[in-house]
Subunit: 330 residues, 2 copies
């Protein structure tokens, strides 16, 4: 009816760029008039593939996740696929979000899923593993998990921070940590404690504050640490957004950074370089994490179910800024 070839109609429907605007409009007009719509359902039943990869993220108000999502989107686009992002917030919402995305995978609306916020308690994830579903854990991982995982070397990163503090004679240290059931924070904390132990320094309970991975937890944590009789002179926060809260709390308490207090974060989000914070932090290689994760996932989707689970760890390096006076890495 539109007087063009089947190929052209197909291209218009797929949103192919190489179709002239006039042709595209003619085809769409005719399709709209006739009420014709070839369904993704029909295509999926034919090819068994949707070309869509699901990505599960947690609190997108922690800017690390939007940055990771953008890196994943770029990588997935380069692979000729589309990304569909599903929010699975911390707490009760996460289980529901994970369950919904896994249902979409099981019933063929997604080809595979990238989990970025898995925790040990995730029942939905356990079920997916039983079914050998094409999934990859990115950023957060689980001990002994039977699927592909990609994460930064968080333990080494935490140890680097401990050695940095000690090399610059800042041995009165403190830590603001996250929930211990989350691998990223727990591993960074473990590395930090290990690095201190190498120099016979132990973190007493009075020098550890713990909360969620939020700005508010950073504020509260720093207020707590600064309230002690001998407050720390160097504080490691297990992610950047905690460190931003910690810096603001120090500022309000009149404690001068970096003269009286050093603060170090983890992630190197874009905001860490902003003048308001100028935060020394451990950089996660976000683009490389995304590329590695998608490569592993696409291999699974392509039917390589027989491969043993692969566990990739990527190096994370210290980036020095004003919050530690620009002191050279050790």
């Amino acid at each position: 009816m539109s007087g063009v070839s089947q190929t052209t109609v197909s291209r218009v429907l797929r949103g192919h760029p190489h179709v002239r605007q006039a042709t595209r409009e003619k085809v769409l007009r005719v399709l709209a008039e006739t009420g014709y719509a070839p369904s993704a359902a029909a295509r999926t039943m034919r090819t068994g593939s949707t070309g869509i990869i699901g990505v599960l993220v947690g609190r997108v108000t922690n800017s690390f996740y939007p940055e990771l999502a953008e890196a994943l989107n770029a990588t997935i686009s380069e692979a000729g696929q589309q990304m569909s992002l599903w929010l699975a917030e911390e707490g009760t919402g996460r289980e529901a979000g994970e369950r919904a995305a896994l249902a979409a995978l099981r019933t063929g609306s997604l080809d595979g899923i990238v989990f970025t916020t898995a925790t040990a308690e995730s029942a939905a994830l356990s079920e997916a593993l039983v079914q050998h579903a094409p999934i990859v854990l990115l950023n957060r991982t689980l001990p002994g998990v039977r699927c592909d995982t990609v994460a930064s070397d968080n333990v080494a990163g935490g140890r680097t921070v401990a050695r940095y503090f000690i090399a610059h004679a800042r041995s009165e240290v403190g830590l603001i940590g996250g929930p211990l059931n989350v691998s990223t924070g727990a591993e960074r904390e473990r590395g930090f404690v290990t690095g201190l132990a190498e120099h016979d320094i132990a973190l007493g309970p009075a020098t550890i504050a713990r909360g969620e991975f939020t700005y508010e937890a950073g504020r509260t944590g720093m207020e707590q640490l600064l309230g002690h009789d001998s407050p720390p002179r160097a504080v490691f926060c297990v992610n950047d957004v905690i460190a931003f809260g910690a810096l603001d709390a120090a500022r309000e308490a009149g404690v001068r950074v970096p003269d009286e207090l050093w603060v170090v974060g983890f992630d190197d989000t874009a905001m860490a370089s902003w003048g308001a914070f100028a935060l020394t932090t451990v950089r996660q290689p976000v683009r490389e994490m995304a590329q590695t994760g998608i490569r592993l996932l696409l291999e699974r989707i392509d039917g390589h179910f027989e491969l043993a689970p692969r566990h990739e760890r990527l190096a994370a390096e210290l980036v020095v800024r004003r919050s530690t006076g620009g002191a050279a890495p050790s």
Copy 2:
């Protein structure tokens, strides 16, 4: 084979919460062993509905969009649907992202789409309008567009800022604006200029800086404004992230906020209240925007194509903080 009812199997597949863990595992084990997987494809062909609403967002590294996405996710969940987020970044990526999401809508993978970053040049959007696709424009809108739109009253918000500056005798004003083809920034700017004109104040070219909606543009813009012979004493930035860059540039130039310079933003993202910025800003009613947008969209999806396009404008109010010395709203 699992010894349970068809209803229970169906519930397990949909991720329904009211299924005992042991039953769920048994059903999934049998399904995995038999290789059975009822496809979304089959369901969509049967019901004509996916239960999934697509949301197109731009640069998620501007934290307004993650906050809007979380509000949309909560609203869509409350309506018993799932949200699938599609990144359509500014520039060449946006057209591709929009095209892909619209292809997913056309072929039945999505029930409807929320556009949050439409611009007048969007060819994909024009095509969707021709086809009477179930879409809603949220946040950004277009003049005379033939579909439902929901946005803050940006013009009134900009005018409020102008009147606030004048009421406090800060009439040496400046503006850091965005690209003029984007409705949000253009409307806020128009309101600001109108409010100044009511008091016979004109914004000369030397008092306007313009760039993208980014931190970097805010820095550059403020450096430019401060470089003039008679720098402004009050600057309106058309969104918060521009204002954060502007504040950092002022800090580095040694210009004291609020004594020597007032800075006001627009959005009231969570970061605006952080101690590092304490930004006076115009609050967008994000939750209400999400609820209104989803209500209109669900009506369209339910088949109310005959309704004339509806255009909702929601009030945006000034929130006063330290960047204007906490001076009372006029």
